[in-house]
């Protein structure tokens, strides 16, 4: 399907999130959309998929026909389906039931057929999803997989993916890309929003760049990477020097720790984390790294072994105890686990600070919020509701919730949805914490990020945990192999 956007405007109160955007996307194209955080990418995509409506005067033309899209249901009827940056509300229902959601027609669901379709699609993509399990047990990446399958099942002919690659592993990404290319060959139009230049370069035949709500450029493959960056930020951005800040003192030590959840068993983990050290956790989604991380925060029960934190035995203690000892955990599912939709930025910062007293000190709260907003470069005011921020800005808000001082910071996908400039900036802030003696353990599906910022790396594969690998002595290739289950003999 060919899509033509004409004079798209969108205001949120005073914020002019889309300014006069004109864009033509040919049928079967894979169109990349790039832009810094808050550039207006998600807004544009939500307009196209009916979640929000553009200001009057804007036009959407589908295969030469002007259409109005009033709701996501409308959009799906026109064949436009969107995979959101933040998967929306997921009630605790079974995967297969979620899969059938939004299916038009009779009340009687053909359960058996649905199971078969589900299995067929999952096989096509190589997604390991159990239709009988429950949605709320899925990780971010798995939810995205489920969403993609659902949209295709609903008959989407235009597939919009808003930053789909941040939560999934390299292998899964490859599978996804292959599938998207296959879909494109079947003349399904794909719109792909991303911050990762290499993804766009690998996948998209054409790309559009937004900045400050405006369309500032359109490019065709092959691309010049520098040109992209300049268009996005209006300047050249360079990566900082890699530096290690590890000190002698021990923060966390794991002694023969064993973990278990419904899907995975982890045995005999031994690890000593030094103050100032950064440990990266690599592995395919669901290989045990999230369980490991939650255990380090007291959010998952250990079934054996000891967790020592700064000399104290915290085995079996709750997250709140860990927290009192200086541990903070930031989950990947921002709007589900980390932030409170309906509350504003200031309220979040107040909550995270645990102030004493009874009555809210409004001026102090506003001051605190203004400081954090400034230091984390958040686009929004103290009174902006959290859900009105762009994805990247929500991520910054989440990072801004970290308390001071801290001894251990646990991060799931800390730069998910951040643009390149912000990634560098945020890591700068995190490294400052290391300088003050905090250790960091983080999960990322981006091996470059892991190599760039970690001192040591743990690789997870199906519940197996590698010995710590010095980041300086490994490579993306070696990590990739380990993640895929190869070369474990010498790890």
């Amino acid at each position: 399907m060919q899509i033509e956007l004409k004079r798209i405007h969108k205001h949120f109160g005073k914020v002019h999130a889309n300014k006069d955007i004109n864009l033509l996307i040919p049928s079967g194209a894979i169109q990349g959309i790039l832009g810094e955080n808050g550039a207006g990418k998600s807004t544009l995509m939500k307009i196209l998929s009916g979640f929000i409506q553009a200001d009057s005067g804007s036009e959407i033309i589908l295969d030469g026909k002007r259409i109005t899209i009033d709701s996501p249901a409308d959009a799906i009827r026109f064949g436009i389906g969107m995979l959101h940056q933040d998967p929306l509300d997921f009630p605790p229902m079974r995967l297969v039931d979620n899969f059938l959601l939004g299916l038009p027609g009779g009340l009687l669901l053909n359960h058996k057929k649905a199971m078969q379709d589900f299995a067929a699609l999952a096989r096509e993509f190589g997604f390991a999803l159990d239709p009988e399990s429950y949605v709320d047990t899925l990780t971010v990446g798995e939810r995205q997989q489920l969403e993609i399958m659902r949209l295709l099942f609903l008959g989407a002919r235009v597939l919009i993916l808003d930053e789909p690659t941040t939560g999934i592993s390299a292998a899964q990404k490859e599978k996804l890309f292959a599938t998207l290319k296959k879909l494109s060959a079947q003349s399904i139009t794909v719109i792909f929003v991303s911050h990762k230049l290499e993804d766009v370069e690998n996948l998209c035949g054409r790309a559009a760049v937004l900045r400050g709500g405006e369309l500032v450029g359109e490019l065709q493959a092959p691309y010049e990477t520098l040109k992209f960056v300049e268009l996005m930020f209006g300047k050249v951005v360079t990566l900082g020097e890699k530096q290690s800040l590890a000190q002698e003192a021990l923060t966390l030590s794991l002694n023969n720790v064993a973990l278990e959840d419904a899907r995975i068993k982890i045995k005999h983990v031994n690890l000593d984390v030094r103050a100032g050290e950064v440990i990266g956790l690599a592995g395919m989604e669901g290989s045990g790294q999230d369980l490991f991380m939650r255990a380090c925060a007291g959010l998952a029960r250990t079934v054996g072994g000891r967790i020592q934190f700064k000399g104290q035995n915290l085995t079996g203690k709750s997250y709140h105890t860990f927290k009192r000892h200086g541990v903070n955990f930031l989950p990947a599912a921002r709007l589900e686990e980390a932030l409170v939709p309906g509350l504003n930025l200031m309220e979040h910062f107040i909550l995270a600070e645990h102030p004493s007293g009874i009555f809210i000190d409004q001026p102090a709260g506003e001051k605190l919020a203004a400081e954090r907003i400034q230091s984390f470069n958040i686009r929004g005011g103290p009174l902006s509701n959290i859900e009105s921020l762009s994805g990247g800005n929500q991520q910054r808000a989440e990072l801004a919730l970290l308390q001071t001082p801290l001894d251990l910071i646990l991060l799931e996908h800390p730069t998910r949805g951040l643009d390149i400039e912000s990634v560098i900036y945020i890591w700068g802030k995190l490294k400052e914490r290391c300088q003050q003696g905090a250790s960091i353990i983080f999960i990322s599906s981006d091996l470059d990020e892991i190599l760039q910022y970690s001192d040591r790396i743990l690789v997870f594969f199906a519940g197996q945990v590698s010995n710590p690998i010095e980041a300086s002595q490994t490579s993306v290739e070696q990590l990739g192999q380990l993640i895929g289950g190869k070369g474990w003999a010498d790890a």
């Binding site: 205001h11 589900e336 686990e337 309906g342 909550l351």
Partner: protein, 346 residues
């Protein structure tokens, strides 16, 4: 900004008109004049000082219940058990009265003790629902319904059994307490200014609790996102329990007022359904404390005003219930429509 506010108002007015319209259709199809009915209801509630005082008598427990429910709703809890908490408040109030009736103590002291007892009773009853949820994994809706049932069964047992009038076994209630054990009433009226003050103070406190305190903010966080609140370091279960305790205490106070200022004894239907009515009020005001007073007053006025219908027009009083239900329904519907429109327009 002003435009948005006007638009809000327009939607709320539309809801009001729709609700009255729907009830008018019912009235017309029953062969009655809607105008007459509304006029009678209005005059029946605001037509004289005495009538308005009756409205306030109903308003006080309703306001107390609503104030309590604002707290549990803020914490994201559906405290259906509020009805039982009112009943429990009434039971304990009656119990305290019975304990001290012959003690010769100052009646004022006994009244205060009885009301405090009622609040404790309601709070404990609510806490049980909370504990069932926390430690038993029983959803508060089902737990609450169960506890309502138990509270009512208990009242009936007490009235028919240990607390029966001598030589009598009747559902008509226990022996009334002597006049000096009543909360002081205004001359020639059944309204107790103390009860009214209690209700108004309660709603003011709840308003500030929810709007201006750290406690209220944490409660809201728990209500809006339980998991995030936990990760933010809020002891979530404890806050759920606090909200149950506060709501239960206020519901218990409503039950206490029913005993100490309205019925002066325990009846099987001592709660007068104010628990469920309070749930409707809370839904109607979309959990904003600021609207609790006017809407609870409106609902109380409908209850009292509707007494005129059978007297004057031979219509059933339950029409007020229909009207209350229609109001809640249409306001919720219009709120949905408004949000849709806002999404499109902005």
């Amino acid at each position: 900004m002003l435009k948005a506010r006007l638009k809000n108002l327009a939607f709320q007015l539309a809801a009001l008109i729709l609700a009255f319209g729907a009830v008018s259709i019912i009235l017309i199809s029953a062969g009655a004049s809607p105008w007459e009915a509304y006029k009678n209801m209005f005059l029946g509630s605001f037509g004289s000082v005495r009538k308005f005082a009756e409205v306030l008598v109903a308003f006080v427990p309703l306001l107390l219940v609503t104030a309590g429910l604002l707290v549990t709703f803020s914490a994201g809890l559906w405290n259906i058990g509020v009805e039982g908490q009112v009943v429990m408040g009434a039971i304990v109030t009656t119990w305290v009265y019975r304990l001290f009736l012959e003690s010769g103590w100052n009646p004022a002291l006994i009244i205060v003790l009885a009301i405090l007892g009622g609040m404790v009773g309601g709070a404990i009853w609510a806490a049980l629902t909370g504990l069932l949820k926390t430690f038993g994994g029983v959803n508060e809706i089902f737990g609450g319904l169960g506890m309502n049932f138990v509270a009512t069964a208990w009242t009936i047992y007490l009235i028919f059994g240990p607390w029966k009038r001598p030589g009598v076994a009747s559902m008509s209630g226990t022996e009334p307490f002597p006049d000096e054990f009543s909360l002081p009433l205004l001359a020639n009226l059944r309204l107790s200014p103390w009860a009214l003050a209690l209700g108004l103070i309660a709603i003011v406190i709840i308003y500030f609790l929810l709007q201006g305190t750290y406690f209220g903010l944490r409660l809201k966080a728990v209500g809006k996102n339980f998991r995030a609140a936990y990760l933010l370091g809020i002891p979530t279960w404890r806050y759920s329990l606090y909200s149950f305790l506060i709501c239960g205490a206020l519901a218990g106070a409503a039950g206490a007022v029913q005993v100490a200022a309205v019925y002066h004894r325990l009846l099987p239907s001592i709660s007068s359904g104010y628990g469920y009515l309070g749930l409707m009020v809370a839904m109607l005001i979309n959990y904003q404390a600021i609207w609790a007073v006017p809407v609870a007053l409106l609902f109380a006025a409908l209850n009292i005003g509707s007494i005129q219908l059978p007297i004057v027009m031979k219509l059933d009083s339950s029409l007020s219930g229909v009207l209350q239900g229609a109001l809640v329904l249409f306001v919720l519907l219009m709120e949905g429509a408004r949000q849709k429109l806002i999404k499109r327009a902005s």
